[in-house]
Each structure stands twice: as structure tokens, then as C-alpha cells.
């Protein structure tokens, strides 16, 4: 894995967690998380939540070491937790208090003095987009508003690193977009590093600078998002009709094209490949609707897995 210039916010070394029942959740995971927004992707059961719990110092690894912001997770749990904000995956809000009261209280538990806790609770709720609603009981909120309160309570303690576990859980498409924009903004404008655990690749791609993919407790790949989506030496060609004819014509002219659904994938030799494709299409008078150089897709990482169109695992 390439080392990045700024120090890693999270480092794990041969991190292994075997639960008492014999289930291996993490299996020798060694990875560095660079500052910025990092996606932590993997199927359900890949070890994302276990990794987060170890980082929070809530469970001890069976073997190996994890460091957060330079502090060892096993020995400096409290110190680390004062620098972290955590948004759990599941519902975790009481219904019978107002968002302001709840977030202020958790600010106090994060170690803020009373007046600071009040100010920061109001600010955090404002940043996540809850204004007058914050004086209402949480029980009256929509799912989207609850997710925002969960994010606000993670922000209230002025963390240097946020761990967000499936932040778009239960949200409708508009809510997802709003939440993702909010996370991207926190990462870019607030100067807080963020780790977003998700099984939704499509979402992660939109907001992350880096990606850490794990599978079965092992590291699949860790890199910048751009390196995942580099242009490939493949040309994608789509025609309205006559796919087979075009494939045959291309073969006759020495280009071995493969089909993927209704798209022809042509190996890109050089600029003249474009000319050959154009000539073939023209010769057959086919309606051409797409001709572009293909990018690698994050999903290719998980080709073996059962992924549906939106990059969601079918588990």
C-alpha cells in the first residue's frame, strides 16, 4: 500500500479479532487510513463494525495493533474516545427529549464544560440542518431528521475524526443525497477526517477521497478513489442494433471485441482504434449511441461478489 505524505489517522497492523464463538471477524488486517474522507466498504459481515469497535476501544483485538491519531487503542481508549465522534448504524435516540437537550447532554459526556456543551450542541444541530426543530421532541422527527441528530451528537464533542457507520441507513434517495452532501461538507470545510462505513459502493464513490475495501476480515484494497476509477485501455461502444454484426465487422478488421450486456468492449490500441470503430459503424450504417473510453469501476473489486446494479450486495 502506498504511504501517504500526511500521517495516517488510523493504522492497523495484523489486526485480528476472533469472537468467543470462534467467528473470525478480522483476519490480519493491516491498513492505513489517510486524512480526509475515507470509505470503508465491505459486505455485511466483512468486519466493518468490528473494526470500528476496536478503534473505539470497546472491544480488544485478539492479535495485532490499532492506532487512532497516533494513540494505541488498547492502552489509550479514553484519550482516543475524546478525539472521536461516532455515529452508530442503528437507532440510538430517546424519543422523549428534545434534540437540543440530548445533544447538549452528550456534549457534557464528551467532556465539554456546561456552557460550551450548550453552544456546541446548538451549532452542531445547525450544521446538520436542524434549526427550530431542535426544540421538538426527537420522537416527532422523521428518519432523516433522526439521522441528522445522530450526526450532530457525533460532532458535538469537537472530534478530530468521525466514524460513521452506515450513515444513510433507512433514508430515501433525497435524504441520502442530503446526508452525503453533509458528510462531504464536513470533510472538506470542517477539517475533520471521516471514515464512512457502508455497503453501498455507489454512495461511497461520490464523497470519498480514499477507499478501504475489506472482505472476510481481510484487506481487499486500499487506495485513492481516483486510482480505483482510472481510465482503462478499453473502448465502450454502444449501438442501437446490430451488435453481433458490428462485432463480426470489427473482428474482420483485427479488433477482438467482447460483449457485456448491450455494450461492445474494444481493446484500445491507439487513436486509430477510434477510426476503425467509426468506419465499421459507418460501413454497416448502424445507429451509434455511445463511444467512450471506459473507466475502472469500484465494483470491479467485488466482481466475484453478488452485486446488483446499484452496487448493493445481495446477501
Amino acid at each position: 500500500m502506498p504511504s501517504t505524505d500526511p500521517p495516517a489517522v488510523i493504522q492497523t497492523r495484523v489486526l485480528t479479532k476472533v469472537y468467543p464463538g470462534g467467528v473470525t471477524a478480522l483476519d490480519g488486517l493491516t491498513v492505513d487510513f489517510a486524512p480526509g474522507v475515507t470509505g470503508l466498504v465491505g459486505a455485511n459481515g466483512a468486519g466493518k463494525s468490528t473494526l470500528i469497535k476496536i478503534l473505539l476501544g470497546l472491544i480488544r483485538p485478539t492479535k495485532g495493533q490499532a492506532k487512532v491519531l497516533g494513540q494505541d487503542c488498547e492502552t489509550s481508549g479514553e484519550k482516543i474516545r475524546s478525539l472521536l465522534g461516532y455515529m452508530p448504524e442503528h437507532d440510538c435516540l430517546p424519543a422523549d427529549v428534545t434534540a437540543t437537550e440530548f445533544v447538549t447532554h452528550l456534549g457534557r459526556i464528551s467532556g465539554l464544560p456546561p456552557t460550551v456543551a450548550k453552544e456546541r450542541a446548538a451549532e452542531s444541530l445547525r450544521h446538520v440542518g436542524l434549526h427550530e426543530e431542535r426544540y421538538r421532541l426527537i420522537g416527532t422527527y422523521s428518519t432523516g431528521m433522526k439521522q441528522r441528530v445522530k450526526l450532530a451528537q457525533a460532532l458535538v464533542g469537537a472530534p478530530r475524526l468521525l466514524l460513521l457507520d452506515e450513515p444513510t441507513n433507512g433514508l430515501d434517495p433525497a435524504g441520502r443525497t442530503a446526508m452525503l452532501e453533509l458528510i462531504a461538507r464536513i470533510g472538506a470545510e470542517f477539517g475533520i477526517s471521516i471514515v464512512v462505513a457502508s455497503h453501498l459502493l455507489g454512495e461511497i464513490e461520490r464523497i470519498c477521497d480514499h477507499l478501504v475495501a475489506i472482505d472476510g476480515g481481510r484487506l481487499l484494497r486500499a487506495d485513492t478513489i481516483t486510482s480505483f476509477t482510472q481510465v482503462s485501455q478499453v473502448l465502450a461502444v454502444e449501438v442501437e442494433e446490430g451488435v453481433a454484426q458490428l462485432q463480426a465487422e470489427l473482428a474482420a478488421r483485427g479488433l477482438a471485441a467482447t460483449t457485456q450486456a448491450r455494450t461492445l468492449l474494444v481493446p484500445l490500441g491507439g487513436d486509430d482504434t477510434y477510426d476503425v470503430v467509426r468506419d465499421c459503424v459507418a460501413a454497416l450504417s448502424l445507429p451509434l449511441c455511445r463511444l467512450e473510453q471506459r473507466r475502472h469501476q469500484v465494483e470491479e473489486l467485488f466482481r466475484d461478489e453478488e452485486l446488483d446494479e446499484e452496487g448493493v450486495w445481495n446477501v
Binding site: E78, K79, R81, H90, D91, L112, F190
Partner: protein, 301 residues
């Protein structure tokens, strides 16, 4: 002025100050525990909750203070003080403590279990045992207020009508062991209430568990005491009949430590007194241990 200046600011006006971090001082673990204790203490009286949350604490206070007020008035009109500081009105105290515990112990612990708020506490700079510790301190303090305030009302009402300094001194000397007994009650009953309430996140169930445990064991002990000849009996059976409920254990300890055996819930334990003391300590240790173990498990899940 124009209309626009008088109308409230439009919903879209947001003065974005940008994000500001915080580099100021942070509280240590001790102060965080104190903050959580204070918060829990307040919520054990329904403060910071809706009106519904305040009903039972208020009723409990009114019920337990009423005899003290009435007696204090009676003393002011020249009558004697009827209620002892160490036993007060025993059956009323048992009933009020049971109701308060059954209603408010779940408020402190089951609520957080039910709403799954605990991960939000454990991801903050607290240690595993700090959460139950804070809850225990809060409920103990709340019970202490509930039990001691009527004693103080009774005391103040009585010394207000005292004729001499000696009478005030007598009252004070009688009050001190009474406050000690109250402390004993609060320390043990809070532990019992919390460990039982923390068994489940279902509020109704945990209220039921606390109430039924307190009431059934108390009735069992009362029946045993009755069947052995009542609180004045001196048989071995009568002496140990109070060992089956926390309230009678506490009263047995009171008599063992020198309290008046003529009043109260149990027969004089006599030479079995140390057994009551030992059982009280074991019960307390078991409940606190159970509470700590409960939250060690929760924090991992």
C-alpha cells in the same frame, strides 16, 4: 416602517458562521461521571422530562411527607412527636420506596437500554463501570432525599416548639441514627432497584420486576413474622423471619445496631442480628456486582 421589517425573518435567513472547533479545556473522567450523575439524579425526579415523568416522584414525596407535616403541626399545638426518626411510618416508607423505585429505577436504566443509547455513552471518554456507577450514585441520592426529607420536616417542626436547649439536643440525638438508617435504606434499595431494572429494556417489565420483587418478598417476610407470633415474639423462627425481604433485613439491622425493638417491621433479631448485617452486605455486594457485570456485557454488544 415597511411590512418586511416587521415580519419575522424569512426561513431562509441563516447566518452561517462556519464550523468552529473547540480547543479549550475538557473535563476529566471524574467530572464527566459527576455530569452524568447529576443528569440522572434530575431525571429520577422527572426533571427534564415531560409532566408524566414528574407525577410519581411528586406523589411519592407528598405521601411520605404528609405524616411529618401533620405531626409537626400537632407538636406545635402541644402534642407529642408520634413518629420515630429511625422507623418513621414503616409501612408507608416501604410502600413509597417500592413505588418510587419501581417507577424511577427503570427511568434511569431501562430507558437507555430500550433506546439503545448506551453505545453513545461508551464511545465517549468513560470507562465501562462509570455508567452504572453514575446511575447508582444518582438513584441513591434520590432515595436519600425521599427518605430523609420527611425526617428533617419532623425534626424542624419539633424543635421549633422545643422549650429548652436540652430538648433540641434530645431531638438531634434521636435524629442522627434516623438519618443513618435512611442512608442504609437508600444505599441498599438503590442497588437492588437498579440491578433488577437493568435486566430488561422493556419499561413495563422492569417496573414489574422491581415492584413484584419488593412486594412479594416483603409479604413473605411479614407472613412468616405473623405466623411466628408477630414482632414481639422471641422464638428463633420469629427472629430470622425477617431475613427474606430487603426491607425487613434493613429493619433487622436497625434493631441489631441498637434501634428500638418495640417499633418497626421485624421481631427483635437478638443474637441473629449479625446475620441480618451480613445478609445486607452480601445483598449489596451482589447487586452492585451484578450491575457492573450487566454493563460489561452491554458495552461489548
Amino acid at each position: 416602517m415597511s411590512d418586511s421589517a416587521l415580519s419575522p425573518p424569512a426561513a431562509g435567513v441563516i447566518h452561517d458562521l462556519g464550523y468552529r472547533g473547540y480547543d479549550g479545556p475538557r473535563l476529566g473522567r471524574g467530572q464527566i461521571i459527576r455530569a452524568l450523575t447529576w443528569h440522572s439524579f434530575r431525571s429520577s425526579f422527572g426533571i427534564g422530562r415531560g409532566v408524566k415523568g414528574k407525577i410519581i416522584p411528586v406523589l411519592a414525596f407528598v405521601a411520605i411527607c404528609l405524616p411529618a407535616f401533620v405531626n409537626a403541626f400537632a407538636v406545635a399545638r402541644g402534642n407529642a412527636r408520634l413518629f420515630g426518626y429511625d422507623v418513621y411510618v414503616p409501612s408507608l416508607r416501604v410502600a413509597v420506596v417500592t413505588i418510587f423505585l419501581a417507577a424511577q429505577a427503570p427511568e434511569l436504566v431501562s430507558r437507555d437500554l430500550r433506546n439503545r443509547v448506551l453505545p453513545l455513552y461508551f464511545c465517549r471518554p468513560l470507562r465501562r463501570g462509570d455508567y452504572p456507577l453514575a446511575k447508582y450514585l444518582a438513584l441513591t441520592s434520590a432515595l436519600l432525599l425521599l427518605i430523609e426529607i420527611p425526617l428533617l420536616i419532623l425534626y424542624l417542626g419539633t424543635i421549633a416548639s422545643a422549650k429548652s436547649g436540652g430538648a433540641v439536643w434530645d431531638q438531634t440525638r434521636a435524629l442522627i441514627p434516623g438519618l443513618g438508617v435512611g442512608l442504609m435504606w437508600a444505599v441498599l434499595m438503590a442497588a437492588i432497584g437498579l440491578v433488577l431494572a437493568s435486566l430488561t429494556g422493556r419499561r413495563a417489565y422492569s417496573t414489574g420486576i422491581v415492584a413484584i420483587s419488593c412486594v412479594l418478598t416483603f409479604i413473605l417476610s411479614l407472613l412468616l413474622i405473623q405466623s411466628e407470633g408477630g414482632t414481639t415474639a422471641t422464638s428463633t423462627g420469629a427472629r430470622i423471619a425477617g431475613l427474606f425481604s430487603p426491607f425487613t433485613i434493613l429493619d433487622g439491622v436497625r434493631v441489631w445496631l441498637g434501634g428500638n425493638p418495640q417499633v418497626g417491621l421485624v421481631a427483635n433479631p437478638g443474637r441473629y442480628g449479625p446475620l441480618y448485617g451480613l445478609l445486607a452486605v452480601i445483598l449489596l455486594a451482589a447487586c452492585l456486582g451484578g450491575l457492573a457485570a450487566r454493563y460489561r456485557k452491554v458495552s461489548q454488544s
